[in-house]
Symmetry: C2
Subunit: 551 residues, 2 copies
């Protein structure tokens, strides 16, 4: 007997009319048809329409396929935010391949390690970074046994013959390569939307960089979610200040095609370039590391500009001091603060920065978080959610469709990260009673355990930077025979300022429970990685060395 | 030997941290956590927060599951746009079941046919429509052999005991049913995102209504796409003028939860109710059939209101005359015009109406069409795209992830609709050279073939309604021995107007190629279906009868 269940199911087999594997490739195809004449990219004197960008990406895909780059091959790129790197974000997946845009600040040795890991047959390299890549290729072993193609991205979009003599045989010029491509190329769409579209390396602040694999599905959904998250519209003019090699530019490479907005590419991110782009192109959004805010705030007066339209800056990472934020706010910028990581394809949540909120520690609000399924704070052993009591510390965990597929060629690390069916961020947090807001307390590996108490270094740092002479501060645990660890503050003072370590300690004692106040204060510059994150593992080593000296 | 391909694939198996079947259920869960205290629904004196709506839907799901409603069972509902019907949009899928909201204007016989087809064990009925449903249940046969539960939605949200004596044994009151539900119910999420979430019947303007099955995936993606399409934001206050039984309220039932916006429910859609809601609740959006525009334009002066904020009206169907549109535009409303159908989950494309565009025939622009993969005009036999020459007629075809899964229990109709891997809309259109815009020419079944030429009845109608005395017009083919068919115009004149059929014919002759001008003109009211669409099949019968009389 047929039940109603069978009946409903009768007609349900997805077919090509009703099911298309989700992929950001679709965004470019729709943009070419719907927004065909609108400006897609501005880069110096170069301007493309969405139709042109589509056609260039199609030819790129065709040329790659002629080079026998195909299904799931990794194509590496070492380039700044130039149109070629934007085009690779579509052209590589349209050939069925996987894009890995590498950090341009890596040295030859690290580049070699990653290229070896990726087994990238094809490497796109901007002329500025050619030397480092050539050095890296001297080191790698797979390049000697396998045919390898180097594609040089020249300074200008019209140049077809530069520095050819320095390139290994078989190398190509990017613009020449495009000429090889056929305009009638049949796009290789992913058979399964969970297939990889890209690999993004973590900055490796806690160890060696890990290759984070993104799927077409996750990239598609995160692009759409990003439009909400960053309050974007068809009128968005996006200035490329965030590196495209960071989570594929927070997936905004693809999102901009979905919107049919305009990309402003720039080789160099300086305050001058930012202000010029704002006034020339009416930029509406830019984003990146908080260092951007320092750039703008410290720009010479003649470079600064009072804004005549709304400009959104979204930053992810530790915010600079309130004075900096207030100054930028007064220039007319809207600042938002994001929380995220490479594994979650960039910022997961974003919230507007407000004057009155500056004193508070970062809140993770599920704002505009349309596609990430759940954000929770859990006991990492029992996996129970912590009570929303504003004090029980747990680990921030995420799950949802805008999550990485896993780590490149590292099943063990993937399984560890996804243990229990959630992505373990390694961040410690608490839940507040009102609406269950999450407040970050520390990185699990940074927190100090002193006399059995967990001390949030973020909270101590917030107090230290409150001292009027302090520019920046980072707090780590210093080994202590009695208490296990004690807080040790590394402090960078403002220019022409001077203060004793005793005064800093006293200042903190007044404002914090005694066990949380730093017992040691060390003055100097703070070591940062390529993202601008303070390298606490370096400071921990220093604190340990000092401890040993003292003993 | 391991290739790079294996390596990338190593870490790619989706797990519960990185893959969650897409379902609108997620929107309600996120709304309850992120927008917990914001107002979800206003209905008269009743107000709910998103937390409360979530809890009520959860209890509804729990109660349904206690009634043994489960995986893929169809739950039917016959109700106006009251909170209960909104809650059913989440509660039913959260129990794993499939919602079918039926047209409240169906008579008992048609209701019986559809209930029988659906084999719906559980029927929610609003007190206003109880009589029709009770009559329908007298007719159906499956109700006699299977246990059936009728759930009465009373007039007020607090009423728990009304008209109980008229209900069959085993019937329940909606508010009582919610009380049975457990707040700790475990949501039954779809195992596969392509599983059905709802069935929506077509209005059946061309034949008997067909049950269109929507998947969780399509509903989820169309909800998100709708936010762009209708230019919505977190601040959206949505007035329920479109029936929730039409494509699940164009999927805006679910989209409103994704936004955390506010739903204004109303039992009766009148101009007075619309203006009252706008002034009381600062409504930002409402939508539905073009009849809405006539409502507003014809509202008594004392009911009308000069708007002090932006209000978007989106209508889908044949637009009323320019005078009506201009009047509404002057009141301060923004009018947008959508093109779509039940099979595409509602409007596929939406474009703003402009004064100067009123003379043109509807353009299907891919505006905000983020998730529908492709819209094309094709030769229905060869499946080749028509050239963008502004004249070659083809059939408008669609494919993408916001398409129905198929027709309920009708594999043959599904296969016919999806033949060749595209959904065949049955609409005729052409492509324009500029950006390939699509212009609708006619329904394939409405077009007139006269002396071998295809005549677009839409184009003839546009000319006829241009006559200053004409209010509405519909043109159909009248059988003709010589030419096959000739155009026959059915015309409704404006009040206190009078004109001869000869004059209408002459008026058209001046403005159209002679073969396109109507040869016959008949005055009177036009028959419309429940959506307000003119029933051309009725007019064709009339035209045929006249033809026979004449012969």
């Amino acid at each position: 007997m047929r039940t109603s269940q069978n009946r409903v199911m009768d007609c349900l087999k997805p077919c090509s009319a009703s099911y298309v594997p989700l992929s950001p490739i679709s965004f470019l195809e729709i943009a070419a048809s719907v927004y065909s004449d609108r400006v897609s990219i501005i880069y110096g004197d170069t301007r493309y329409s969405w139709r042109q960008t589509h056609d260039r990406c199609l030819k790129l895909a065709s040329a790659l396929s002629q080079l026998e780059v195909g299904s799931n091959d990794v194509v590496a790129a070492v380039a700044p935010n130039v149109p070629a790197l934007y085009e690779l974000h579509f052209g590589v997946p349209m050939a069925g391949a996987v894009l890995c845009a590498l950090n341009t600040r890596l040295d030859a040795a690290m580049l070699a390690t990653l290229l070896e890991q990726l087994q990238a047959k094809t490497i796109f390299v901007d002329y500025q970074f050619l030397e480092a890549v050539l050095q890296a290729l001297e080191i790698v072993s797979f390049a000697k046994t396998k045919p390898l193609t180097l594609v040089l991205i020249p300074k200008s979009d019209h140049e077809t013959s530069s520095t050819a003599e320095r390139l290994p045989p078989g190398s190509l010029n990017y613009n020449r390569l495009l000429d090889l491509g056929r305009a009638d190329f049949q796009i290789v769409r992913p058979e399964d939307e969970c297939n990889p579209i890209s690999v993004n390396y973590t900055s490796g602040s806690t160890g060696k960089p890990k290759g984070v694999v993104y799927s077409h599905r996750a990239a598609y959904l995160n692009s759409i979610a990003g439009i909400f998250r960053y309050d974007m519209s068809k009128k968005t003019v996006f200035l490329w200040t965030v590196d495209m090699f960071r989570c594929n530019g927070w997936c905004l490479t693809w999102a901009m095609a979905a919107l049919g907005g305009t990309n402003i590419c720039t080789r160099l991110v300086t305050a001058k370039a930012i202000f010029k782009a704002i006034s020339l192109h009416k930029v509406t959004h830019f984003c990146g590391a908080p260092a951007l805010l320092n750039f703008i705030s410290e720009a010479p007066f003649e470079d600064q500009l009072q804004l005549d339209h709304k400009v959104e800056i979204i930053v992810a990472g530790a915010l600079p001091p309130t004075q900096v934020l207030t100054k930028i706010d007064k220039l007319g910028f809207n600042i938002s603060h994001g929380y995220g990581m490479s594994e979650a394809l960039g910022p997961v949540t974003v919230r507007p920065w407000k004057h009155d909120a500056a004193a508070k520690v970062e809140l993770v609000e599920g704002n505009h978080n349309l596609v990430m399924e759940e954000i929770d704070v859990k006991d990492p052993v029992t996996m129970a959610s912590v009570p929303p009591d504003g004090k029980t510390i747990g680990e921030v965990m995420l799950r949802g469709n805008t999550m990485m597929s896993g780590y490149f060629n590292d099943l063990k690390a993937t399984q560890k990260a996804f243990k229990g069916g959630w992505f373990r961020t390694g961040d410690l947090g608490i839940r507040h009673p009102d609406g269950g807001y999450i407040q970050l307390k520390d990185r699990a590996c940074d927190a100090i355990v002193s006399g059995g108490e967990i001390i949030s270094t973020i909270e101590v740092e917030a107090v230290v930077v409150g001292h009027p002479m302090v520019m920046e501060a980072a707090v780590v645990g210093k080994p202590d025979d009695l208490l296990g660890e004690t807080p040790c503050a590394f402090v960078k003072l403002k220019e022409r300022c001077s203060v004793s370590s005793e005064e800093i300690v006293k200042f903190c004692m007044k404002r914090l429970p005694h066990h949380m106040a730093p017992k040691t204060v060390i003055f100097g510059n703070l070591p940062v990685n390529s993202t601008g994150k303070v390298q606490k593992f370096v400071l921990r080593e220093k604190a340990k060395a000092i401890g040993n000296l003292a003993n």
